[in-house]
């Protein structure tokens, strides 16, 4: 292919690049022009590349999945973090550069995940025995759901790093270490399919975030860090107990220890144990989301965290809660998840969408306000999951990405003004649009994304969730009232976001301290540009995201529907049971630990036993 062909093929990207380079006005630095042009061109390329075409399905018939890709994604930042320890702390640019390189390689490598058609089931699966005596394996795999969350992580972390290096000036080495370790932990948690492994990553990412808040945070940072840690830890240990019970039950049923998510999915616990374990898991996840009433750690953590920490916390870490609920709570305990969904949806709406929005409205600290808006937005995500309809669940996954992009951008923007004024009280501001017009424009765009104006990413997610809620069978007679409540949330979103916009940007410029603020710097604008572009990319072309998650979501949805029905039917007061393998789709069970012992009766006997009448069940 000659260079001219490339030009013809990718003219939109080249055009976008030139346009992006032209956007800065006046004596903008070459760096800014080149950076913006590059980002615009890359975003356009991304859209062109992922654009759904007819031939794409056939072209990628032989998926070439390199089995170590996920290992690379997880190990690279963790090894990088270890390597950072060997770089002298005086070599600041080396430290920064090394961090960029590691994160950059991670991002490019994660784009590779998109080359594979995301059919239902696991991709890039990699299994290795870790502690065979306990059935603990290193089992990682990706599907259409975790795909976007991993990409979100690898996309947002470099941005957060880039923005942080502008404002964080102390203990750079430790910061690089924490950031890389955090990245590794988060990606690992999104990819782990072994509950032990998942738990390790889940706890692993807690530590760097704890350090980030505690070291580089605001005045009350230690308190906030401890609160964050204790809240999350309280949920985690409950989850650990439930994991152990589940594994033990599985061992009793099959004679094998296994921490494997796929194997454990087959276990149907007795009714009461099911409920307790469901709550133990879900509480851990609800705290992380956070859902009302276990959300109060979030505003404190956000207010104290440094900008980069806030961005990662909001954009990625909260998603672990929603993702893990979707994967593990709904996957392992579909019975209670199904039975309780109408009630939980009520909590998500009243406590999240409505309550979160109203409390956000009353906050005077912009960062607190954005933190409470996260509670409201994640209420939508959880509602989508509780509705358990394909549309609702797709909307929920998309909304996770959306929230990562737009709230991440909001936190960056709040960081911008904090760096200049060292306050975030809205009453300190007013009329900023006059002195910082570019900042105002970007803030307004992100605000409208957060409000969910169509054309931005927020709308598509909320729309899918609201439609999914009304169509939901799971919510039964409450679907209508739930829909009304969720839709009312869109009013309140406008109320609190426009309130803060008006207070900060409009009105007369009265405070003399604000009169000479400088507009966005090169670094800030380059950090925000990809997020702002993604807002529109997702808003206008959501199908490039939805198409790749659709089959996985449908698989998860169908499985939830079938297994929850059976779990409700089978569960009795006393006995745990094992669902037959044919309850699940074979693509789901791919990679499940196979039995080595042959003492068992022929295959099918356990099936029969598990599903038999009451006479056989009792023992």
């Amino acid at each position: 292919m000659s260079p001219l062909d490339l030009v013809f093929q990718y003219w939109p990207a080249i055009g976008a690049g030139i346009l992006g380079a032209l956007v800065p006005r006046g004596e903008a630095s070459t760096k800014q022009r080149a950076g913006l042009g590059f980002i615009a061109a890359l975003t356009t390329l991304f859209v062109i590349w992922l654009w759904p075409t007819e031939g794409a399905a056939q072209a990628a018939q032989a998926p070439n999945e390199w089995p170590h890709l996920l290992n690379l994604l997880i190990a690279l930042p963790i090894v990088g973090a270890a390597a950072v320890l060997f770089i002298p702390r005086q070599m600041l640019s080396t430290l920064r550069g090394f961090t960029y390189v590691v994160l950059g390689i991670g991002f490019v490598a994660s784009l590779w995940l998109l080359t594979v058609p995301m059919t239902a089931g696991w991709h890039f699966q990699y299994i290795k025995d870790w502690m065979p005596s306990l059935g603990i394996r290193y089992h990682v795999a990706i599907d259409g759901i975790s795909l976007w969350l991993v990409l979100l992580t690898t996309f947002v972390t470099p941005i957060a790093a880039y923005a942080s290096f502008g404002s964080i000036k102390t203990r750079i080495k430790e910061f690089c270490f924490a950031l890389l370790l955090l990245q590794g932990g988060m990606i690992g948690a999104f990819l782990a399919l072994d509950l032990f492994l998942f738990y390790v990553f889940w706890e692993l990412m807690l530590v760097p975030m704890f350090l980030m808040i505690g070291i580089w945070g605001g005045a009350d940072r230690v308190k906030a860090a401890i609160k964050f840690f204790l809240y999350t830890m309280a949920g985690s240990v409950l989850m650990l107990a439930a994991i152990i019970y589940l594994v033990w039950t599985h061992q009793k049923l099959t004679g094998d220890f296994s921490f494997d998510y796929l194997a454990l999915s087959r276990v149907v616990l007795p009714k009461s144990a099911q409920l307790i374990c469901f709550w133990a898991f879900s509480l851990a996840f609800f705290i992380k989301v956070p859902m009302w009433p276990v959300h109060t750690w979030l505003p404190d953590a956000h207010v104290q965290a440094p900008t980069g920490g806030s961005v990662i916390l909001a954009a990625v870490m909260l998603k672990l809660g929603t993702y893990a609920y979707m994967r593990f709570s709904m996957g392992l305990f579909p019975g209670p998840a199904s039975n309780l969904s109408a009630n939980l949806a009520g909590v998500a709406i009243l406590g999240g969408i409505l309550y979160g929005a109203l409390v956000a409205w009353k906050q005077r600290d912009v960062k607190r306000l954005v933190a409470y808006s996260s509670v409201a937005h994640l209420g939508f995500v959880m509602l989508g999951l509780f509705s358990a309809t394909p549309s609702g669940m797709q909307g929920a996954v998309l909304q996770m990405v959306n929230h990562g992009v737009s709230t991440g951008a909001l936190f960056l923007l709040v960081g911008v003004i904090y760096d200049r004024r060292h306050t975030r009280e809205v009453d300190e501001f007013g009329g900023l649009a006059k002195v910082m017009p570019l900042y105002a424009v970007v803030f307004l765009i992100v605000t409208f994304a957060s409000v969910g104006v169509p054309g931005t990413n927020g709308f598509v997610g909320e729309f899918l969730v609201i439609m999914g809620t009304f169509l939901s069978e799971r919510l039964g007679k409450f679907a209508g009232i739930h829909t009304v409540g969720a839709a009312a949330g869109v009013i309140l979103a406008a109320v609190y976001m426009l309130y803060v916009v008006q207070k900060m940007f409009f009105g007369p410029l009265t405070n003399p301290k604000n009169k000479h603020l400088s507009d966005l710097t090169v670094r800030e604008s380059l950090a925000l540009a990809p997020l702002v572009l993604m807002i529109f990319v997702i808003g206008f072309f959501p199908s490039i995201f939805l198409d790749r998650m659709k089959e996985s979501v449908l698989l998860q949805h169908n499985q939830f529907k079938v297994v929850s029905g059976q779990a409700i039917l089978f569960a009795d007061d006393r006995d745990a049971k094992l669902l037959p393998e044919d309850t699940f789709s074979p693509v789901f069970l791919k990679g499940m630990p196979k039995k080595e012992k042959t003492e068992e009766p022929a295959p099918g006997a356990d099936t029969q036993a598990a599903l038999g009448g009451e006479g056989k069940v009792a023992q």
Binding site: L253, V460, V484, S543, E600
Partner: protein, 867 residues
């Protein structure tokens, strides 16, 4: 023409992309590069974008398939996303546009009137530093409005719907340096969002019942919406009878309170009614109808061309457009239609009454817009969709002309008075006809048009609406069961007469504004730049008793008012021409209705549902035109007498005679205050309560209280860690004594394993062991006299039988304790549901339900038993 047709096939009509892309391009270029382009460049970009769009829209209109069934031109841009419906079917939501006669007409209005207003603004805004920003917003608005009218489905319409709201927000707050403007913008957006909430709910219901969001498919499958839905009691709430049955012993007062809320019979409505009402909420938000009209008068804070384009000609009519677009849904529900008509009617008269005494020229026009929008909703509410839409069309011309005329006046006044409020106050105007003749004549023509002077545009459209309201009624769609609600026959006539009264008021306040502005002496002489009125500043409440000495007519220093430049007067003249002649596009009584002909295929479904009210009503068409004309004559005449001949003296005397009523009307019936106190106050209080609860209750209990408890135990336990051996020794002694006491007492405890109770009737009871324990069992069948070491006992129970087993325990110290168990085996006749073998495909359920020995069930254990 033919070449164009070949170039643009009807199903892939890419010309629509041109119509849309040009304003978007203009918005982008002006927004991003506007400052570098300079004012001339911005003007060129904005005008050429709209002009090109207009030409493309005109071509689209001409290329519309003509003929009996009408037809549409459509273009699908890309697959936006897809949903899964109730049955799991995939529902694609495309970014698709389709244009029929109604949307093509709207496109012409948006781009045509839009172009004129752009032209006007290019001069009006010329001194503003935010020139490029203004045109970027204005172009973006046109793009959003075109998206709205061209949308092929509800979702894309919603994009335009919110897009115009967004631009409206930006343009109302265009001069954001003033807190008031920014607040007005925010209010507009939030009130509109309340409407959008309705639209979202409507979309959800439509998706559920019709499985589509495309307008053509919604209209085709609207009958699916004839599903009765119980709206009360919702959720798990019982009916009155069910509640009584569940709570037989409730006390009287409690019962009475519960009965207040719970109905005897569920309240049922058609799904179509729900969709209609939710959709009307959206329409009411956008089109400023009761109860959501409050944002529009405040929206006049934006630049005047914005008021003309957005808040008069195009955006505010989107609600009417939506109702007309989804007419098939509304026709399925006479109740929803009646709601639309009645609320439209109420808005018409209510807003007209507020308009009577406003002093701000733009406020008068704003309330007039609200009132005229009410007329449009009467039209679509009584099933006269074409007439309602026709009023949208004519109103766009004369109201845009009025607003631009007002802008021209304000522009002139601004030369003298550099104060937004004062330059818009008609008490400071007067006699402007000699300074600005073109503005005056175009304003006068438009006043005649809006007042309904035959044969101007407003007359034809308003008369058509009122006549339809008078003569027709909506019949319920035929269903097997009784219709849930029927259209009362008096409703149409009531609407008609209220409409006539509103029309009278319209004529009155429009001519009041006209006479006060253009006739008499110029009262603004004594106001010059920098001049402050002594004692009372401008007071919104208008109780200025010493208002008379404004009219002394002594000119002070300062510039005179002047006629506006050609770029501003040209649009006025064009619009005035349309205000005169547009009515003949659909003058039904004289059978000149080219527009009516091309619109009628769009509303074919209305023919079945909208019928004449009674025999011979159609003969009344000409007589019933009388009250309409009389309304015009009466209103105009009264205004002429009061303000031209008597110089406003009767208004003053009315103010003196009934100051309370006058002020109440002047203060817009204080609805804003009511809303502030009730709705806003309630939400605000709720937010305050939640915020306090979040801080003190939730965080207090979950974080502070738990921390306090931990700290308390820490404090208590810390006191034991003294390091003194004596204390540890004492603690050990006390502990040992406790353990000793426990060991000395016997404890009769047992584990009952009844896992085989149901199947085999066998129960194993094993007593807990202890030091030197011996056991004696009673009631096991095999009687025991003495204590023995047998810890376990096996009991057989027959179906339906209950056995009482008593356990005696004696320990090494010869002390005894007892415990009894009652073991019941359920009878054979009532197998519990848990025992039912579940039906799973691929599972063989053994016949006979016989039991299988436990050792054959390797996959089953009893976790609890092992605990």
């Amino acid at each position: 023409m033919e070449a164009l047709k070949a170039q643009f096939p009807a199903t892939n009509f890419t010309l629509l992309a041109v119509v849309l892309a040009l304003p978007l391009l203009g918005a982008f270029v002006n927004g991003v590069f506007g400052k570098r382009l300079g004012k001339a460049g911005v003007r060129l970009m904005a005008l050429s974008a709209l002009g090109g769009s207009f030409i493309a829209a005109l071509a689209t209109f001409l290329l519309l398939p003509k003929g009996e069934g009408g037809g549409s031109l459509s273009w699908t841009a890309w697959r936006w996303f897809s949903l899964n419906g109730r049955m799991g079917q995939t529902i694609p939501i495309d970014v698709a546009f389709s244009v029929d006669a109604m949307s093509a007409t709207m496109m012409l209005v948006v781009t045509g009137v839009g172009f004129l207003i752009h032209l006007y603004s290019s001069e009006y805004m010329v001194k503003d530093p935010g020139y490029h920003r203004f045109f970027a917003y204005l172009n973006l608005f046109c793009f959003a409005m075109l998206t709205l009218v061209m949308a092929d489905n509800m979702a894309v319409l919603f994009v335009g719907w919110e897009g115009v709201g967004l631009c409206s927000y930006l343009l109302i707050g265009f001069w954001f340096g003033d807190e008031k403007n920014a607040t007005a913008g925010k209010k507009a957006f939030i009130v509109n969002r309340i409407g959008d909430f309705g639209l979202l709910v409507a979309m959800a219901i439509l998706l559920y019942y019709t499985g589509t969001l495309r307008f053509s498919e919604i209209n085709a499958s609207a009958r699916n919406l004839l599903d009765p839905v119980t709206i009360w009691p919702f959720g798990n709430l019982p009916l009155e009878g069910q509640w009584d049955a569940a709570n037989p012993n409730a006390n009287g007062l409690y019962k009475a309170i519960v009965h207040l809320f719970l109905p005897e019979k569920g309240v049922q409505v058609y799904a179509s009614t729900l969709v209609g009402l939710a959709m009307f909420l959206g329409a009411a938000g956008k089109s400023a109808q009761i109860p959501l009209y409050v944002w529009l008068p405040d929206a006049m804070a934006g630049p005047t061309p914005v008021s003309a384009l957005i808040h008069a000609a195009t955006m505010v009519t989107a609600g009417v457009y939506l109702v007309a677009r989804t007419s098939a849904v509304f026709l399925m529900s006479p109740a929803a239609m009646a709601t639309v008509a009645v609320l439209g009617c109420a808005t018409a008269i209510f807003a007209a009454s507020i308009g009577l005494f406003q002093h701000d020229l733009k406020k008068v026009l704003a309330y007039s817009t609200v009132s005229q929008l009410g007329f449009m909703f009467i039209g679509v509410g009584v099933g006269a969709f074409a007439a309602g839409f026709f009023h949208v069309f004519t109103h766009a011309f004369f109201k845009a002309c009025l607003f631009l005329g007002a802008g021209s006046v304000i522009h002139a006044m601004h030369a003298r008075i550099h104060d937004t409020d004062k330059s818009q106050d008609i008490r400071n105007m007067g006699g402007l006809k000699k300074f600005m003749p073109i503005t005056r004549w175009t304003f006068l023509i438009s006043c005649f048009a809006i007042a309904g002077a035959p044969p101007l545009a407003g007359f034809w459209s308003k008369d058509e609406i009122l006549w339809r309201a008078f003569s027709t009624k909506i019949v319920a769609p035929e269903v097997a069961r009784d219709p849930l609600w029927t259209w009362p026959s008096w409703l149409g006539q009531a609407i008609y007469w209220v409409g006539v009264v509103s029309a009278t008021m319209t004529a009155f306040y429009m001519f009041r504004a006209y006479f006060l502005t253009f006739h008499g002496e110029f009262r603004g002489w004594k106001i010059v730049a920098g001049w402050k009125e002594p004692k009372h500043g401008h007071d919104d409440h208008g109780h200025d008793d010493h208002h008379d000495h404004h009219d002394d007519g002594t000119p002070l220093e300062g510039p005179k008012p002047h006629e506006s430049p050609l770029a501003m007067t040209l649009p006025l003249m064009v619009l005035a021409v349309f205000a005169v002649f547009a009515g003949f596009l659909m003058a039904e009584p004289i059978h000149v209705e080219p527009l009516g002909h091309i619109l009628s295929p769009v509303f074919t479904r209305a023919h079945d549902a909208v019928v004449l009210r009674g025999e011979g009503v159609e003969k009344l068409m000409w007589p019933m035109m009388g009250p309409g004309v009389a309304a015009f004559l009466a209103g105009t005449g009264a205004a002429m007498v009061v303000y031209l001949n008597k110089g406003g003296a009767p208004e003053e005397s009315f103010k003196k005679a009934a100051p309370g009523l006058y002020r109440l009307i002047y203060d817009k019936w204080r609805i804003d205050e009511l809303y502030d106190a009730v709705v806003v106050g309630m939400v605000d209080a709720l937010a305050d309560i939640f915020t306090a609860a979040d801080k003190w209750l939730i965080d207090g209990v979950l974080a502070k209280l738990t921390a306090a408890i931990v700290a308390f135990f820490g404090t208590v336990l810390r006191t034991f860690q003294t390091g003194r051996v004596q204390v540890y020794g004492a603690a050990m002694a006390i502990g040992l004594a406790g353990v000793g006491f426990f060991l000395v007492r016997p404890h009769a405890d047992a584990t009952v394993d009844d896992s085989k109770l149901r199947s085999a009737g066998e129960v194993v009871i094993s007593a807990a062991p202890g030091p030197g324990y011996t056991y004696r069992w009673e009631g096991t069948g095999t009687e025991q006299k003495d204590f023995s070491a047998a810890r376990e006992v096996r009991i057989n129970v027959n179906p339906g039988e209950t056995k009482d087993v008593k356990l005696h325990v004696r320990n090494a110290f010869a002390q005894e304790a007892t415990h009894s168990f009652a073991i019941t085996r359920p009878g054979r006749g009532f197998p519990s549901s848990a025992a039912q073998p579940p039906l799973v495909p691929g599972t063989v359920v053994p016949a006979g339900g016989g039991s299988i020995p436990a050792k054959d069930i390797p996959g089953l254990i009893n976790p609890r038993g092992a605990q």
